[in-house]
């Protein structure tokens, strides 16, 4: 059996009708995984950038890249074993938890307090996917009410 590995793939596509469903449809039809997916237009280009976090063995990853390429609106598929990756996370805590402890934790993960209301503390952090997992673990002791993960975004090192 070939080893299953995690891979982050960026896809640059023409910004046109139903392009996103072409991509997600491809993953669904061929039985590939999407772990996270982020999409946003690239300013003043008529293109959008998708970042897809996926899993599969070497053959599957190779097929995913080739199949993405094959879609007519696909301009470019960027894929590296090592990309600079960041994921943003927002988390909501009850107001009775320690604001200063929460703030210290968030700062350790490249973030801070985003909002404080009479009921809740809302924080945000942005860090590497592995560290995001650590943050979520560490934050458990403050009894989070809600967690929103933003999905991975990535950029080539060079």
């Amino acid at each position: 059996m070939m080893k299953v590995e995690r891979r982050v793939i960026s896809v640059i596509v023409q910004n046109e009708h139903s392009v996103l469903s072409r991509i997600t449809g491809l993953f669904a039809a061929r039985g590939y995984n999407i772990e996270t997916l982020t999409v946003a237009p690239i300013p003043e280009s008529g293109m959008s950038r998708l970042t897809i976090e996926t899993r599969g063995n070497v053959r599957v990853i190779e097929q995913i890249i080739k199949q993405l390429h094959k879609l007519i609106p696909t301009y470019k598929v960027i894929e590296h074993e090592e990309m600079i990756e960041k994921e943003m996370v927002m988390m909501k805590f009850p107001i009775n938890e320690s604001l200063s402890n929460i703030q210290a934790l968030c700062e350790a993960y490249n973030g801070g307090i985003a909002n404080v209301s009479s009921q809740h503390i809302i924080t945000m952090i942005a860090d590497e996917p592995k560290r995001v997992r650590h943050f979520i673990e560490a934050a458990q002791r403050f009894h989070p009410i809600e967690i929103v993960r933003g999905g991975v975004v990535a950029m080539e090192r060079e």
Binding site: Q14, H17, S18, G25, R59, E62, Q63, K70, I72
Partner: protein, 563 residues
């Protein structure tokens, strides 16, 4: 020039050189049909089902290499066409299907005859478009034809809302197009081609694995040259039948589940597989881990995603086969010594002597294989042969003496029963000088039997030869082999009177139970040149052999079946 969207559709057909549109009108596409009524540029052939319209366009495209065109309406018109799109998609056939859609303002409201057509066709087309305004229609139609025919060909679907066909805009048809996100690689990597040529010359037991890409790229002549220069034996996939002439001594026959013994053994024992435009389908490879176990593999294909999809490839070459072969042949010629493979050819010859592709003929009952051989003797290269799907399809692939590419029109990838007859109608329209024969079964023919009316009305004579075993034969065969003869819903003993059915639609019918009757019927049908249905009662229990059981290894063939 200003014109309506509907007029643009007609104008685009004219500029693309379309001489035939197969279709069926309906509410959402009426504006286009109104323009068809007024024009004289192309012939519209009214099929009696939208599925048949797309299969006919597909048959037309397979027989000529030109883009086939079908028009259908929205909703059920379109959903009926989906099997046609999927069939063409699996076999990489260039067609353009234009469907009507409800007006833009009604899209998403569950309007009458509304369906999310592009949502459905996305996974069975090369590309599709929902047209948002008449302004963008000329560019989209141009792109549709370009995408269908270029690179790895395939079906393209254009969905046009009714108000877009009524709207007027400037008709600015691009002379050429450039889609920055779509640039298929046609020129093969020179270093890889050189390396492949060296490997071919050094191999001891090489075999050509010829696929449908040769037909699509019109490179059969070059393949014939390469085979002749090297004297390396070759196997053909179902989609490549006719690439080599049937009597070419280097042709080992068809490969795969119902391939010949020598072809499958050649693939299993080769030390080099030269794959020209096949896609390593499971019906060819059998158990993938055992496929070509002793072989290095060269794979030439225009679609990078076909290379290494199922089997690891040692020498991948992405490019148009024609362009690659033009470079490769001189390089191979420089180093090849055809005598080098003599021992290998002798081994394969011996295999063929031990287990030739054959059947046991009978005086008591007509053997289906005999019918196919007989038609081959009578018509040979004068006919273009279509088939439906099942036992008759495999027997045709095994026993018809094909002499040129595009002589064999069959649904390989999707395996669509009901494909043959409408495809043969499209073939006849495309090749009026050829005799269009459809080998079919008593199961398949009923899946598009209404096309009798189309063929008769349109004066497109097709000779349907029903190899009638009163079974859904291929499924019955599997039940015999693998399900202890539990014939679940495969006994088709109750069936229509095919002779009267043909006659009811204005055709001519024959029922045949002896060889003499068959000869008479065939000759009469050829002579009369009308739509014919020859109902041939054949041996009920005949099996397609050899057979590699699904998921089995290629060298483990069932060569005979004993009760």
């Amino acid at each position: 020039m200003e014109m309506t969207g509907a007029q643009m559709v007609i104008e685009a057909m004219k500029l693309e050189g379309v001489d035939t549109v197969f279709g069926y009108p309906g509410g959402a596409i009426m504006n286009v049909y109104d323009e068809i009524y007024k024009q004289k540029e192309f012939r519209h052939i009214l099929t009696r089902h939208e599925q048949a319209a797309v299969h006919a366009a597909d048959g037309y495209a397979r027989a000529t290499g030109k883009v086939g065109v079908a028009f259908v309406t929205s909703g059920p018109g379109f959903t009926n066409a989906v099997t046609g799109l999927a069939t063409a998609y699996m076999d990489s056939v260039p067609i353009v299907v234009v469907s009507g859609q409800v007006p833009i303002s009604l899209i998403g409201t569950d309007a009458f005859q509304e369906i999310d057509a592009t949502g459905i066709s996305r996974s069975c087309t090369k590309h599709n478009f929902l047209v948002r305004s008449a302004k963008e229609l000329p560019r989209i139609l141009k792109e549709a034809f370009y995408l269908a025919a270029s690179g790895r060909p395939g079906p393209v679907h254009v969905d046009i809302p009714k108000d877009v066909t009524a709207e007027t805009a400037k008709f600015d048809y691009p002379a050429r197009i450039d889609i920055p996100t779509y640039r298929p690689t046609t020129k093969g990597n020179l270093r890889q081609i050189k390396k492949a040529a060296e490997v071919i010359c050094k191999a001891k037991r090489p075999v050509f694995y010829l696929g449908g890409g040769i037909v699509h790229s019109n490179s059969a002549e070059l393949v014939r040259e390469l085979v002749a220069e090297t004297k390396i034996p070759a196997v053909e996939t179902l989609m490549a039948r006719g690439v080599l002439e049937h009597d070419n001594p280097l042709l080992l026959g068809m490969v795969g589940m119902h391939g010949s013994y020598q072809a499958n053994m050649a693939m299993s024992e080769a030390d080099l597989m030269i794959a020209l435009g096949p896609r390593f389908d499971d019906r060819v490879t059998g158990k993938v881990s055992e496929f070509g176990k002793h072989a290095k593999i060269i794979h030439v294909d225009i679609d990078p995603s076909s290379i290494g999809k199922l089997v690891d490839v040692d020498y991948p070459i992405v490019g148009d086969l024609k362009e690659v072969l033009e470079v490769m042949i001189p390089k191979v010629k420089e180093c090849v010594d055809p005598d080098r493979y003599q021992a290998w050819r002798d081994i394969l010859k011996r295999y063929n002597e031990i287990h030739p592709l054959a059947y046991e003929d009978s005086d008591k009952v007509i053997k289906p294989q005999w019918v196919i051989e007989r038609v081959g003797q009578v018509l040979g290269d004068k006919a273009v042969i279509s088939t439906d799907v099942g036992q008759h399809q495999m027997w045709t692939a095994q026993f018809y003496p094909f002499s040129f590419p595009r002589q064999f029109v069959t649904s390989g990838g999707l395996g669509t029963m009901g494909f043959g007859f409408p495809a043969a109608v499209g073939v006849k329209r495309a090749c009026p000088d050829k005799i269009s024969v459809n080998f079919t079964g008593d199961g398949s023919i009923l899946m598009n039997i209404q096309e009798l009316v189309t063929a008769v009305e349109s004066r497109l004579p097709v000779i349907n030869i029903v190899l009638n075993n009163h079974y859904l034969g291929m499924v019955r065969q599997w039940q015999t082999f693998f399900y202890e003869k539990r014939y679940a819903e495969t006994d088709l003993s109750f069936q229509p009177d095919f002779v009267r059915l043909a006659e009811a639609c204005g055709g001519i019918g024959y029922r045949v139970e002896t060889k003499e009757e068959f000869d008479e019927a065939l000759n009469d049908a050829i002579e009369k040149g009308v739509v014919a249905m020859i109902d041939v009662i054949v041996d009920r229990e005949e099996n397609v052999l050899p057979m590699v059981p699904s998921g089995g290894t290629l060298y483990n063939m069932l060569l005979e079946y004993k009760d």
